[in-house]
Amino acid sequence: MAYPPIAIPGQPLGPASQYASGPGTHIQNSQVCASIIGTVAECAQYAASGKSKVGSGKAGEAPLPVLSIQRSAQSASNDAALTNILPEVDAVVLARVTRINPRQATVAILVVGETVCSDEFPGLIRVQDVRATEKDKVKIFSSFRPGDIVRAQVISLGDQSNYYLSTASNHLGVVMATSDRGNTMYPISWKEFKDPVTGATESRKAAKPF
């Protein structure tokens, strides 16, 4: 409990023999040191990752508590509270479909986890990542349309520009869509959205609403 409440980069927080290094920290001279400014938080290490961590020492020993620094809202005067956050593998993101072709849908990632990105990140949903079953029968055209808002999971940092996303899960897929007429639609099944005005249905890969 020796670490300070607020840390600045380079500040030692505690010996690496007692703490493991979490997000926002690094290890220097067997001391866990802060890398960013913010409040210091200690949390118990997850049991699963405890074995693979270097700092946890011999087998059978209790895992070390992890010291991390909470990333706070950027630029003090900015009330939009935009934070610099990168999409990470396994993160769930919200993205807008910008372009489709038979092999893939190009999207712009707007939200990572609960955080609104200050910049849009380019992403890609390939046809084989749209759903988990009957992948060979998936048609991009009947899964997404430009303008749809999609909830997706990052599966890879991808190539030079695009993050690769997947919607192969029940809770992933289109969450907001508009019809040809421009009306906001609501989902009526896992593969259909309905226009409340015209009553027409359009096919989408819908996300399970709840």
Partner: protein
């Protein structure tokens, strides 16, 4: 703001972060040697110029579409003197000395950023020099300021670089980019001491502990306009928590180490190591202000966050 902090007679800057709302991180630095020296000056014009720098950090941003994949953050630095920054008016296009400073700054900053935490991203550090030191100031020609390397790109550049390193480090910390440590810039110089017992201008610290007749002395934070001649200067970018140097810029000849007719009879007074040590000492002093400014920024953000909830 507005309070000039002074420790051991070393000039300490005023530093504040988060002044540019549109940037992800920003900082402003002001160093005003004239605050110490103008009591002795008969003129209303400041005897030496102030250093005013504003730094904005944009990013981390996704890479442009054309750029190749990078597992690390891509850093780019830009330094621009405002057209009105110095007595000699500058153009709107970056000239060679500005590009040179930007390269030095990039070296200093690259050493502290943990690039692997931000794959496929770029960050831009943009510094605008609002008021920059130059070799001579108003009326200095008659009083005998430094006759040095020329008007643009002279000794004043080294002070500007030290300020740039400090202000960029504060802005990067404000932007929330992972760093190993804060880097602070410090300058030391070997100057010709004033003849006939003329008092050193305040704000410079006499470090050499030399005898009466010695011609050269080591000073921290030299103001080029206040010294008759600067013969060597050194800028460092120093990480005080790790005791490492990320940037070292030495310039000039150290008297006693070269064959110069003026100092044949003198003992060798200072080596390169001593000069670098003094520059580090100046950087350590600046680090106090830097750490304090960054801590203030952190407290402000944390306070704001807990207020939101």
């Amino acid at each position: 703001m507005g309070v000039y902090r002074c420790i051991d007679n070393t000039l300490l800057p005023v530093l504040k972060t988060g002044l540019t709302p549109s940037a992800s991180g920003s900082a402003y630095l002001e160093l005003s040697p004239s605050a110490y020296t103008n009591e002795t000056s008969p003129s209303l014009v400041p005897s030496s110029p102030a250093l005013k720098l504003t730094c904005t950090v944009h990013g981390p941003r996704p890479l442009p579409r054309s750029a190749p994949f990078t597992p690390q953050i891509q850093l780019s630095t830009h330094i621009k003197f405002a057209p009105f920054a110095a007595r000699q008016r500058r153009g709107y296009i970056r000239d060679a000395s500005e590009r040179d400073l930007a390269v030095h700054l990039e070296t200093a900053i690259r050493g502290i950023i943990i690039g692997t935490r931000w794959p496929k991203s770029t960050v831009e550090v943009v510094i605008t020099v609002l008021e920059g030191e130059e070799d001579r100031w108003w009326g200095e020609e008659s009083r005998g300021g430094t006759t040095g390397v020329g008007n643009v790109g002279g000794w004043g550049m080294m002070n500007v670089l030290a300020g740039c390193i400090t202000v960029a480090s504060a802005a990067i910390a404000d932007a929330g980019i992972d760093c190993l440590d804060l880097v602070s810039g410090g300058v030391a110089a070997i100057v010709k001491s004033p003849q006939s017992g003329k008092k050193l201008p305040d704000g410079d610290t006499d470090m050499a502990g030399i005898e009466e007749n010695n011609q050269w002395q080591l000073v921290l934070d030299p103001a080029p306009s206040e010294h008759q001649e600067i013969c060597a200067a050194c800028v460092v970018g120093y990480l005080s928590a790790r005791d490492e140097i990320t940037e070292l810029w030495l310039r000039g000849n150290i008297p006693g180490t070269t064959k110069s007719p003026t100092n044949n009879s003198q003992p060798q007074m200072a080596g390169v190591g001593e000069l670098v040590d003094k520059a580090v000492e100046a950087a350590v002093a600046v680090r106090l202000v830097l750490g304090e400014a960054v801590r203030e920024a952190a407290e402000l953000k944390v306070g704001q966050n807990s207020g939101d909830r």
